[in-house]
């Protein structure tokens, strides 16, 4: 598995998609920092980007990579290598290279502007962490969908739909249910509901780190109280972890049974 991981990783690291992805973050972060020079504001702007772009790119990349390397995969399948290690290796390669682009693209400019040692270091670490987790979650989801669907168009469509669901539709449904159930105490409900969506959870984790969270009033206070405790943070990270582990288990299961 490590060999395949290494191979996929190096293969991707050399591809110009990865370069352009990393380069985009580099340019974007640099220009933001250059324009505003205020680390905390840049963290906020980047938050909007990471929540939108990281999942989207990870989804697209995951699906694309699986379909493109299909012939190579078939070749590998003919060798005495375990199936799970082939697919997990490929998946980890994709997720790893995406995360590397993200960390380098955002990390280098911030390091140049001296984020380490400043009071924004914690927020910045959270931002990086969230980007990495989202890359892992959504590329796993993409791989799982691609494995399930032979038809490329269908696979692409489903993957985009999955992204759309978590990025937009889920929030819409949440808002709808909140406004329908407005007679009831909703703090716990909204807490649990937003925990279940990796994008929402990431957004709230970052928001609570920033002082914008004061805007969230009573609900924000409930969140802060919960996530401020060791238990709450533990639960949040566990949920994010589950979001990685779940699709990966799916990949294993499907890969084990699939007839190539």
């Amino acid at each position: 598995m490590l060999k395949i991981l290494k191979y996929s990783f190096y293969d991707l690291i050399r591809s110009r998609w990865t370069y352009s992805y990393g380069g985009f973050y580099l340019l974007f972060t640099l220009s933001l920092l250059w324009l505003s020079n205020d680390l905390s504001k840049v963290v906020i702007s980047l938050m909007n980007v990471v929540l939108l772009l990281c999942p989207l790119i990870a989804t697209m990349f995951g699906v694309m990579y699986y379909y493109n390397s299909r012939e190579f995969t078939e070749l590998l399948l003919a060798q005495p290598v375990r199936r799970t290690s082939i697919f997990l290796g490929q998946y980890l390669g994709v997720a790893g290279s995406l995360s590397a682009s993200w960390i380098i693209g955002v990390g280098v400019p911030f390091a140049l502007y001296g984020v380490f040692g400043s009071e924004q270091a914690g927020n910045f670490a959270m931002l990086l962490f969230v980007g990495v987790v989202l890359s892992f979650v959504f590329s796993a989801m993409a791989f799982f969908i691609a494995l399930k669907n032979e038809n490329r168009i269908k696979g692409f469509g489903l993957a985009i739909l999955a992204w759309l669901f978590f990025a937009v539709i889920y929030d819409g449904l949440l808002l709808l249910s909140l406004s329908l159930l407005t007679e009831y105490p909703l703090e716990k409900f909204s807490l649990i509901a937003s925990m279940l969506n990796p994008i929402d959870l990431s957004r709230i984790l970052i928001l609570l780190k920033l002082d914008v969270s004061a805007l969230m009033g009573f609900t924000g206070a409930v969140f802060r109280k919960f996530l401020g405790t060791g238990l709450g943070m533990g639960v949040a990270f566990a949920v994010l972890g589950l979001w990685v582990v779940g699709p990966v288990m799916g990949i294993r299961r499907v890969a084990g049974r699939k007839d190539f």
Binding site: S179, T182, E187, F189, L215, M216, F223
Partner: protein, 433 residues
């Protein structure tokens, strides 16, 4: 007959002035304590207190005296009593440091209390570690100037107000610093008074607090990092000019809280980085003009029962929410402001946008209905929602609209304290008496 009495009284008074003595208080002087000097003094005398620490418990000034501290003498209450009580008219009290008034849960102990007096003048004193700093009760026609009241309040229950006025008339509170108390300046049943050029910081409740006080003006004050900047409650005809409300940030913090305020005027103030710039509740006929709302969470929150308010010539720059109006159907006006997220155009170049602006975003409307939906703050869905509502408004209240949005910011440099158009308090000319 009466005339004769009057004239002879006046002559006596004049004589008294001419015969006024001065006393010195120091360790080696004939009068070694402030109390002793006050006992010896006659009305209209002046007492100079030299540098030193005077631990004399409560000092009662019951005569028409002038007390001046030379080199900041310290009056120390050792945490046991109220320190200075002014209970006579025409008292001038200047240049002391007053320390260590103990917290009491049964009486409102103060560093300096002015009790049923008129024409008092408390100047350049520093009150440290006091329960109440300067406490005025049933007094009138006085000036509180240039004092510093510094405390270390932890919570509302165990702390008093820095400058506290109760049943007062025509008082001028000018250029004081109030730090670390419950309220910086508290006015209850206080009429025709002016609060000007003060600085309030780190007070646990409000920087300035009005209760049941009418016809007052506060201007040119700075409120920084208090529990909430200013609360104006149950008062009429309050003028609020050229104040700064900054950094009142927290889940329950406001720059300015208005509750049952009628006929007020809010002009030329700056609201910057507050969770809520102004929160108005049942406040009618208020004119908001030439204010700056910069980078607040909510610039202006108008809840139910606010009618006939007029919002014009204000700048709204970079707020998360510019406006949240809870109740529709009231005749508030929002015309002629600058909104930084206005996206219209101006074909005839008259400086007024041709397309009306709706300052209330859909999300801010949704949040006012279901506060829990704030968990979706800054999510992509909300941006899409706001955008679609902007294109074709359906939900946001019909009448919350600026029909003449400005394309350029309103120049606010002119709106400082020196500005001639802001009403001047009758007493402010007597400050340098």
């Amino acid at each position: 007959m009466f005339r004769w009495i009057l004239i002879s009284t006046l002559m006596l008074a004049g004589q008294a002035v001419l015969l006024a003595n001065t006393f010195r208080v120091c360790k080696t002087c004939p009068a070694s304590s402030v109390r002793e000097a006050i006992r010896q003094a006659r009305p209209c005398d002046t007492i100079f207190v030299e540098t030193g620490i005077y631990k004399e418990g409560n000092i009662l000034i019951d005569k028409e005296l002038t007390l001046i501290g030379n080199g900041r003498p310290v009056l120390d209450g050792e945490g046991k009593t109220e320190i200075v009580t002014i209970a006579a008219n025409h008292v001038h009290f200047e240049g002391f440091v007053i320390k260590n008034v103990g917290t009491s849960y049964s009486e409102d102990r103060a560093g300096i209390r002015v009790k049923e007096a008129s024409d008092f003048y408390v100047k350049n004193c520093r009150v440290e570690n006091a329960f109440f700093g300067i406490y005025l009760q049933k007094s009138k026609n006085g000036i509180i100037e240039g004092n510093e009241v510094v405390g270390e309040a932890k919570d509302e229950v165990s702390s008093g107000n820095a400058i506290h006025l109760w049943y007062c008339n025509n008082v001028l509170i000018i250029n004081n610093k109030t730090i670390g108390h419950r309220d910086g300046i508290y006015l209850e049943f206080v009429n025709f008074s002016t609060v000007q050029g003060n600085f309030s910081e780190r007070n646990v409740r409000y920087g300035l607090h009005f209760m049941f006080s009418n016809d007052d003006i506060y201007r040119g004050n700075t409120f920084y990092n208090n529990g909430a900047g200013v609360a104006v409650m149950y008062s009429k005809r309050i003028g609020m000019f050229a104040n700064e409300f900054k950094n009142n940030w927290g889940p329950a913090a406001y720059g300015l809280l208005l509750k049952e305020i009628h006929d007020g005027q809010i002009e030329g103030n700056t609201f910057q980085e507050n969770t809520v710039g102004i929160f108005a509740e049942t406040s009618n006929r208020i004119v908001y003009s030439k204010n700056q709302f910069i980078q607040n969470g909510w610039a202006l929150k108008i809840s139910g029962g606010c009618q006939m308010n007029n919002l014009t010539n204000n700048n709204f720059i970079g707020n998360s929410f510019d406006l949240a109006v809870h109740s529709a159907g009231t005749d508030n006006k929002f015309d002629g402001n600058f909104w930084s997220d206005y996206a219209g155009y101006d074909l005839d170049h008259n400086g007024i946008g041709d397309v009306p602006h709706r300052p209330m975003k859909l999300f801010s409307y949704v949040v006012s209905k279901t506060p829990e939906s704030l968990v979706l703050l800054r999510s992509l869905f909300v941006d899409i929602l706001n955008f679609s509502e902007k294109v074709s408004p359906i939900f946001t209240p019909e009448n919350v609209v600026d029909n003449q949005p400005l394309l350029k910011t309103v120049d606010s440099q002119r709106w400082t304290v020196d500005n001639d158009t802001a009403p001047v308090h009758p007493l402010s000319s007597t400050v340098n008496r």
